[in-house]
């Protein structure tokens, strides 16, 4: 009997999983919250823009155009605009049922459906991590991903004079995208020092030969910055945003390798927007809902991308931050195995090679432990509930309120609409201990929709 594989997420990992599951003979359903495939990496312009030259802003457009055609395969169903809000287990030896809402984002009358797959591939990706700093809640402070999504996905610039800061190679395409929509980029600041970055990337350089195309991409970005005379400064971080009702200026400072501020090196930039990204955090809500074991927030997988739950596979950024190439390589293995295919040495080897890149990325762009030195007692940590550093520290030092549950109830940190997605890691670092992921409802569903009768599972 043909196996039915459900792939959640149509980014690089999910599309590769779909492609390889189809090759191995499965019927495949691909779901994504967005209305177009590609994920954050291949974010597309809306179809109604009728762009004649989308390749001008899309890296690897030809390859992506070819790959997205898997969604038109006769054995493939493509469900855009589909939010998976829950997974539930019918039997211990089978993957969970997938509960889906289809329709406009956060709408009130979306169609409620469920799928009963033979295997499930989770490819839900990551979002930006942005560490708190004084003033980060001001309008005009964005994540690097927001700047990218608005520029690449809609051709909207987040500001006219923009500072780009944080850590990691992602800052470079963000700066390029901002230039591409007419913004002035005043500088790009990499918080890690030149020594950290150099050591991280180029230990045993011969092992990086396979990633030469990535290096070429970075060199191209460097060229763009030079052409526009935009300074790229390493060992410098945004430590404060200032303004009353919106950001007016940002304070930057030189930082040591551990990101402690070097006193007296502060410099102020007048800007109308700043975008900051300190790497990425996985979006493991659905893996948690499926009952998968996580290690440091990432989904644990074996050599064939199996999670700890029967019939559930994971690929891409939820298993470790490695970029689009690594995500696709993992997706290929996951898709093939989910379809019941034989292990493929070549796919596994290709996947293993991408792990070298992920290791370098982590070594070259770590988060410096002394970032908490930027904080002041009144700095907001939980954006939703406006919980401050002082409130968190006080609650954490109170022996009566020990434990993360009591901490949440005492300070409301992590209890707002984002459910700790933005502040979770920061709260954990400030209060000690780790915050276990626990979100039974993976995405918000309206009570009216919950009360509605479910449309029958259309798959046999």
């Amino acid at each position: 009997m043909t196996r039915h594989v459900v792939v959640i997420g149509a980014g690089p990992a999910g599309l590769a999983a779909a492609e390889h599951a189809l090759r191995a003979g499965a019927e495949v359903t691909v779901l994504d919250q967005a209305d177009a495939p590609g994920g954050q990496y291949h974010r597309m312009l809306p179809e109604v823009y009728e762009a004649r030259n989308p390749q001008r802003i899309q890296h690897g457009w030809a390859a992506f155009s070819a790959q997205r055609r898997v969604l038109e395969h006769p054995r493939c169903k493509w469900w855009p605009g589909s939010t998976v809000w829950a997974l539930d287990h019918a039997a211990a030896d089978r993957p969970p049922r997938v509960h889906v809402l289809r329709g406009p984002a956060d709408g009130a009358s979306r169609q409620r459906l469920s799928l009963t797959p033979d295997a499930l591939v989770l490819a839900t990706g990551a979002h930006d991590r942005t560490l708190p700093f004084p003033g980060w809640q001001l309008p005009g402070v964005f994540t690097a991903g927001a700047a990218q999504a608005l520029a690449k996905g809609e051709r909207v610039a987040i500001g006219q004079r923009v500072l780009v800061a944080g850590t990691g190679p992602f800052l470079l395409p963000v700066a390029e995208s901002l230039l591409g929509v007419g913004a002035e980029v005043v500088a790009v600041l990499e918080a890690n020092t030149a020594t950290t970055v150099r050591k991280g990337w180029s230990a045993r350089p011969w092992r990086l030969v396979r990633h030469a195309s990535k290096a070429g991409e970075l060199i191209r970005y460097a060229g763009t910055l030079t052409r526009h005379r935009i300074p790229y400064r390493m060992g410098r971080a945004v430590i404060e945003a200032r303004g009353d009702d919106r950001v007016r200026e940002v304070v930057t400072a030189r930082v040591n390798p551990d990101w402690s501020v070097v006193p007296g090196t502060e410099q102020t930039y007048q800007v109308d927007a700043v975008c900051v990204g300190h790497g990425f955090v996985p979006q493991p809500e659905l893996a948690v809902a499926a009952g998968c074991v996580l290690d440091d927030g990432f989904v644990r997988v074996d050599d064939e991308q199996r999670t700890t739950v029967a019939g559930v596979f994971a690929a891409g950024e939820i298993t470790g931050i490695g970029g689009a190439v690594a995500a696709a390589a993992e997706g290929a293995v996951a898709g093939r195995m989910a379809a019941g295919g034989e292990p493929d040495r070549n796919l596994r080897r290709a996947r293993d090679h991408t792990r070298e890149f992920a290791r370098r990325l982590a070594a070259a762009h770590p988060i410096g432990a002394a970032w908490t030195g930027w904080l002041r007692p009144d700095t907001i940590v939980c954006r939703c509930e406006e919980t401050t550093v002082a409130e968190l520290r006080e609650a954490a030092s109170n022996p009566v309120q020990a434990g993360s549950h009591a901490l949440k109830l005492g300070t409301r940190a992590g209890l707002g609409p984002c459910q700790g997605r933005m502040c979770g890691p920061a709260v954990a670092e400030l209060c000690g201990g780790t915050e276990p992921h626990h979100r039974p409802i993976a995405q918000p569903i309206r009570l009216g929709e919950l009360a509605q009768k479910e449309t029958q599972d259309e798959h046999p």
């Binding site: 109604v48 984002a105 009130a108 809640q137 007419g182």
Partner: protein, 100 residues
């Protein structure tokens, strides 16, 4: 905050104008933009207030932070960065301020 001029845009796009209202005021946009994109391109940087009354707009831009939520056609808590604007949408700004 600007929508990049169509004439200078190398992607060669076609703009189909739409119009939404924000707290009753007419705001032009183009089809395909998110509600957040229309609001930003109209010069609005913030449109929600928190418990303390502080202004918020877009932060994460991809649906994770819930800072940008608005009421669309009477339905509250819609993430403006994820919802495509549709011609005629009535958008209302929201507040979590307790005395509001």
């Amino acid at each position: 905050m600007n929508l990049f001029a169509r004439g200078s845009d190398p992607v060669g796009r076609t703009d189909s104008p739409i119009r939404i209202t924000v707290d009753g005021e007419a705001v032009p946009g183009i089809a395909g933009q998110t509600v957040a994109g229309v609001l930003l391109a109209s010069g609005r940087l913030s449109w929600r207030t928190t418990r303390s009354g502080a202004p918020r707009g877009v932060f994460c831009g991809i649906g994770s932070c819930f800072d940008c939520v608005v009421t669309v056609n009477g339905v509250p808590d819609v993430r403006a960065c994820r919802r495509r604007a549709v011609d005629g949408d009535e958008v209302r700004t929201q507040t979590r301020q307790e005395d509001a």
